[in-house]
Each structure stands twice: as structure tokens, then as C-alpha cells.
């Protein structure tokens, strides 16, 4: 990574009903930390609880905030990051990604997974974001490979 200032990132978690979300988010946090990126996680109470319990020593997790508060602060231009990763497996995830494309100046990545990943990816065709798509709900390895491909080319 080049440049004097430390890069920042935001991970926007979706509904945690699809198992690979928490695994992929922790992996992404680890990769970003290795790249020297300071990362904030935003999610619902359940999504935050899942990731907090999975990383009790805070080895990967740094800042973690309420999703609604995050959106409010970004809409009011009080908070933004260099990179933003939205986790998408349902219509709401598509809507959050489209919202981020408007309220954030971050380079935006949609991390798309679940049984209907292709459909969700198609719904984001007109949204200014890079799509990281791996169909599936339980096996995190395809998504890990897709994240590696994108992160390896970032800085």
C-alpha cells in the first residue's frame, strides 16, 4: 500500500441468516488488517453479535457500529471511508448497496452470495460498484477465492 494516510474501509453486513456472511466478513477483516486498512463494521444487532462472539479477543474486529447509525452519519456526511464492502444476499442488501453508492464516496464493492447470487448481481448492474459474486450459502471457500482475487489487485 502506498500513501502517507492509513486507508479506511467499511463492511456493511446484511441479515445474518446466510451462514457464510460471518465467516467471509471475518476473513475480509483479516485481509484488510494485513493490508494496513482500518476497518469499521456496521450491522444489525444480530449480525454484530455473531461477529463479536466469533472474535472475542478482537484479533480481527476493530470498530463496530449500529447499521442505522452508520447510514445516518454517512447521509449527513459525518462519516465515510476509502473502501466500502456491502454484503448482499437479498433485496435489502441490494437496496443498501444502492444507498451506499449515493451517500458514500468510497470505492464500493458488493459481496454477493447465497442461493440467488446471480439474480442479486443482475439487480446491481446499474449501481456504481464492483461485484464480488460467489453463489452458495454454506461453503465459504468460493467467496474467499473471489475476495482474494479482488484484494490482491487493490493496493
Amino acid at each position: 500500500m502506498t500513501g502517507d494516510e492509513k486507508k479506511t474501509a467499511l463492511i456493511v453486513l446484511g441479515c445474518p441468516q446466510v451462514p457464510i456472511q460471518t465467516s467471509a466478513a471475518l476473513y475480509l477483516l483479516s485481509r484488510l488488517a494485513d493490508m494496513g486498512v482500518a476497518t469499521t463494521v456496521a450491522g444489525t444487532k444480530a449480525a454484530r453479535s455473531l461477529i463479536e462472539v466469533a472474535d472475542p479477543g478482537r484479533h480481527y474486529l476493530q470498530e463496530i457500529i449500529d447499521l442505522d447509525m452508520c447510514i445516518q452519519r454517512m447521509a449527513e456526511k459525518e462519516f465515510d471511508t476509502d473502501l466500502c464492502f456491502t454484503f448482499v444476499h437479498n433485496d435489502a442488501g441490494v437496496a443498501y448497496t444502492a444507498t451506499m453508492a449515493v451517500i458514500s464516496g468510497a470505492e464500493l464493492f458488493a459481496v454477493i452470495f447465497g442461493g440467488e447470487a446471480e439474480e442479486r448481481a443482475a439487480e446491481l448492474e446499474e449501481t456504481a460498484c464492483r461485484r464480488i459474486t460467489a453463489k452458495g450459502s454454506h461453503n465459504p471457500l468460493p467467496m474467499k477465492r473471489r475476495l482474494d482475487e479482488v484484494l490482491d489487485g487493490l493496493y
Binding site: 446484511g14 441479515c15 441468516q17 450491522g43 444489525t44 444480530a46 449480525a47 447499521l67 442505522d68 447510514i71 445516518q72 454517512m74 447521509a75 437479498n90 433485496d91 435489502a92 442488501g93 441490494v94 437496496a95 443498501y96 444502492a98 444507498t99 449515493v102 451517500i103 439487480e123 449501481t127
Partner: protein, 94 residues
């Protein structure tokens, strides 16, 4: 739903796409405005895929409301002071 939960709202549609929500507003509201995603109303920020339409009809406001685990709902509730703010800030469509 934050402040909305304390208000008397009606759920017009459940689990809809933003296109379906916008189509409803176009067909059923005499006056409607386009707002950007993130627009704040009734103490919540609207999440959505543009165009996000807010309808005004007989003192009521109709708008889409998204929850991460439950999808998008189209809500209608008494507009109060928010009506003038929508008229002032939103881009008038009709």
C-alpha cells in the same frame, strides 16, 4: 423502526421491490417527489434503489421502508410537518 414504531402507520405492501413501490406511488398518490437514498424522514433514513418516490395524498405520506432481514415495506402515515419538508427538499415529479 425507530420513531416510526411509535406512529400510527399502515403497511400498504410487504416484501416489494423498489420498482413495485415506486409504481404504487405513481398510480395512487396525487402528488409525489423523488428523494435520494439516505433521505431522512420520521427519524429514519430511507434505504433504496433510485428512483425513491415519496407520495403525498390527503395529509398522508407514502414511502418505502427497508429492514435488512425483512425486505421493503410501503408505509403510509400522517405526514404532519414532514409534508412541507418533502415538498421543499424533494424533486417534484407530479
Amino acid at each position: 423502526m425507530g420513531c416510526i414504531e411509535s406512529l400510527k402507520y399502515e403497511v400498504l405492501m410487504r416484501h416489494v421491490s423498489f420498482k413495485e413501490a415506486a409504481d404504487y406511488v405513481r398510480k395512487n398518490c396525487s402528488e409525489y417527489y423523488e428523494v435520494p437514498p439516505g433521505f431522512r424522514i420520521f427519524d429514519v433514513n430511507i434505504i433504496g434503489v433510485p428512483p425513491v418516490l415519496i407520495g403525498i395524498n390527503s395529509g398522508m405520506i407514502t414511502f418505502p421502508f427497508t429492514k435488512p432481514c425483512h425486505g421493503t415495506f410501503l408505509l403510509r402515515l400522517p405526514g404532519g410537518d414532514e409534508i412541507e419538508r418533502v415538498r421543499k427538499v424533494g424533486k417534484v415529479v407530479r
